[in-house]
Symmetry: C2
Subunit: 410 residues, 2 copies
């Protein structure tokens, strides 16, 4: 695995430094340090919305700020909530301002933002139910056009469609999107949604996302691609409330989608640090508990699993991102799925991921001396860097694995 | 259910009979009788191959002949085996003559034939393994072209591709078709196979067939249709070795595929008359038993289930055929899945299906008297009929439900 990580995630950098007069900086003392990963290490950042909009005060504000700091220390990517039911509970009154503030907070903290999701049957607007399917399609398309346009520049990555595999057969409750999907079919719906998002932001990275990791999703992706839909990234959810997949299943799932040669994001990862959800629950949402405590043994297990899971995926070239779902306990399903406990303290998994993401896989500030040609050589994890020579700071990026020759002028 | 059967499977026929001189046959005594169902009541007729080719003798021949008579008495459709591994074990020496003889036997006995299957990873030719995928595709396409062409006029219905959902992920053993499907994708493979079959016999009825009744198959069909593949009939297997689906699941499966508004065949139906296969076997082929006896209680259950299953499907307008798989016990998986016992005697299910197919849903020879306009009125199950007036016999067909006005000249 380590050799795969070296091959797929690092570059051997030859950095030539020239002085302002273009002469090589011979035998100079310099410092290089990584400032950002190219790989997207993300998390759902839902309570950034309230924080960025000043909705909290007192202890709650302090606790949220502390979580946000821990988020920013570990992660470089965040998923913000655009669930239609909550984003626009009353038609025509979307929470655009609030989400824009949250996205700006993220960007200001060096965190890339993804909006999630633009089209999903769950948590869709209930006011769609009074429309016919043609009107639903128009409203859904218009919603995408509006929200993707409004966020352009701050949010340039979107989960365009969520869980299309079960969308038309979803039978928990009636909703406009299931009706629409059932009538026009999954592929035409995916096509319409991608087309609306693409038109609103041609340079956005657009994902299809699903929890289904059976051939059904594989076939849906194939069908979409055959129908000419330009999917930028395949999103795979991995909520492992019922137990860690292990390396074998993780690689098998990945293998199934690798034949498309498209980037893959693991968009929603959960590993719980308490008891596992019993296997008989086919829909995770059916498991309702008042209390689901984190336990010392569970936290040790979660940490071990998180290390292995991240290392497995980080070693695979097509994977470009992993999003840990709830950063703190008590989120979705009230599960102990956080990296932080309810009181905001770190679980071992947080510390272990920190050791990887900002340790083993990270170039800490490193002092080097240039040779007679003004060159330094070092191994870089792909991402953004900063060179410091005296009081001068120069940013540079290392984007591709392998050999990388870079030239910087002070 | 009965009213649905009446609505979808019968016509109210007004038959006007004219004499040779065109005058209405007034107050004439006539007899009408059904000679064939439009609906395809079929079965796998694999041992017709040996029978039609004179490969059996003595008691075995007699037993096979007896089974064949019972087949012809109940069914109007048969599935003949074109498993590539058996059809062409040595490249270039296909069993074309044998299968042609079998198909002719069927047609001579008023039985429509379907060839099964043209492309399947299981039982494919093992000599594909020495080829690269381009060569496999060429060989598979050429095989379809040859066999569909050779059988034209005798076999005009084909299971073109079988079990494409698992085809690229099938991992029981290496085979050329899984390799090919994995490399080019399911939809391009389905497209190539349908295209080859269509070119060889433009008027053939071409099926896609699968045992998978999850959204994966639904999505595959959608993907194929979106990619412009002309699927004539959706084939659904229903090997219920682990227990009868019941009306609810049967209708749910059907409902999933009804949105395509394409005809549906239940292509491979099994209901066992012995103990059920334990539910933990995900692949039915993994259940290996030396003995799997039919039992009196099992036979009663099988008969009850068969009645309900056939009545359920016969009532649904998109369903155009049901194929009972093994007509006699001891076929696939050594299961008691026959309508006949090993000794060739009828199980209750055979007799009960006979009561439906050639009884309740059938117009037995019926004497009627024409009115003063030479007209008789009767309710007909869709299919072929014969009118007898004295020694004159005139065939006619009733193809559409509802009102049907037919005119015959003696």
């Amino acid at each position: 695995m380590d050799s795969e990580i070296t091959r797929n995630r690092t570059a051997h950098v030859s950095l030539t430094i020239r002085r302002e007069d273009q002469a090589p900086l011979r035998h100079g003392e310099v410092c290089v340090q990584q400032t950002k990963h190219k790989f997207l290490f993300g998390t759902a950042a839902f309570d950034i919305v309230a924080l960025a909009n000043g909705e909290y005060s007192g202890q709650k504000k302090e606790a949220t700020q502390q979580r946000a700091e821990k988020l920013g220390a570990l992660f470089n990517a965040a998923t913000l909530p655009f669930y239609w039911a909550r984003f626009e509970p009353q038609r025509g009154k979307p929470m655009t301002r609030q989400l824009t503030n949250a996205a700006r907070w993220c960007v200001d903290h060096g965190i890339s933002v993804k909006g999630h999701p633009l089209c999903w049957h769950t948590l869709t607007a209930d006011w769609l139910l009074s429309m016919n399917t043609a009107e639903i399609l128009r409203a859904q398309t218009e919603r995408i056009r509006r929200d993707v346009t409004d966020a352009r520049g701050l949010i340039d990555m979107w989960d365009v469609i969520n869980e299309a595999v079960i969308m038309p057969v979803f039978d928990k409750y009636d909703n406009g999107i299931t009706r629409l999907c059932r009538e026009i079919g999954r592929i035409p719906l995916v096509k319409a949604m991608f087309s609306a998002a693409r038109a609103a932001n041609p340079s956005a990275i657009l994902l299809i996302n699903d929890f289904d990791v059976s051939p059904a999703y594989d076939i849906l992706v194939e069908g979409c691609l055959e129908a000419g839909i330009q999917i930028d990234v395949i999103g795979i959810q991995s909520h492992m409330h019922q137990g860690y997949w292990g390396i074998e299943k993780t690689l098998k799932v990945l293998d199934q989608f690798s034949r498309f040669h498209l980037p893959i994001h693991f968009t929603e990862t959960t590993l719980v640090s308490g008891q596992l959800m019993p296997p008989e629950f086919l829909d995770l949402n059916d498991y309702k508990v008042r209390e689901w405590p984190t336990t010392p043994e569970g936290e040790d297990r979660q940490a071990r699993e998180a290390i292995q899971y991240y290392a497995t995926l980080f070693s695979q070239p097509l994977v470009e991102g992993i999003t840990w779902w709830d950063i703190a306990d008590g989120g979705w399903l009230n599960a102990p799925g956080g990296l932080l406990r309810r009181d905001g303290s770190n679980k071992p998994a947080y510390d272990e991921l920190m050791k990887l993401i900002k340790g083993e896989w990270w170039v800490v500030p490193t002092k080097l001396t240039t040779d007679e040609n003004g060159r330094i050589d070092f191994t870089a994890f792909l991402g953004d860097y900063e060179l410091t020579v005296g009081h001068i700071r120069k940013p540079f990026s290392v984007r591709q694995p392998g050999e990388s020759a870079i030239s910087l002028c002070l």
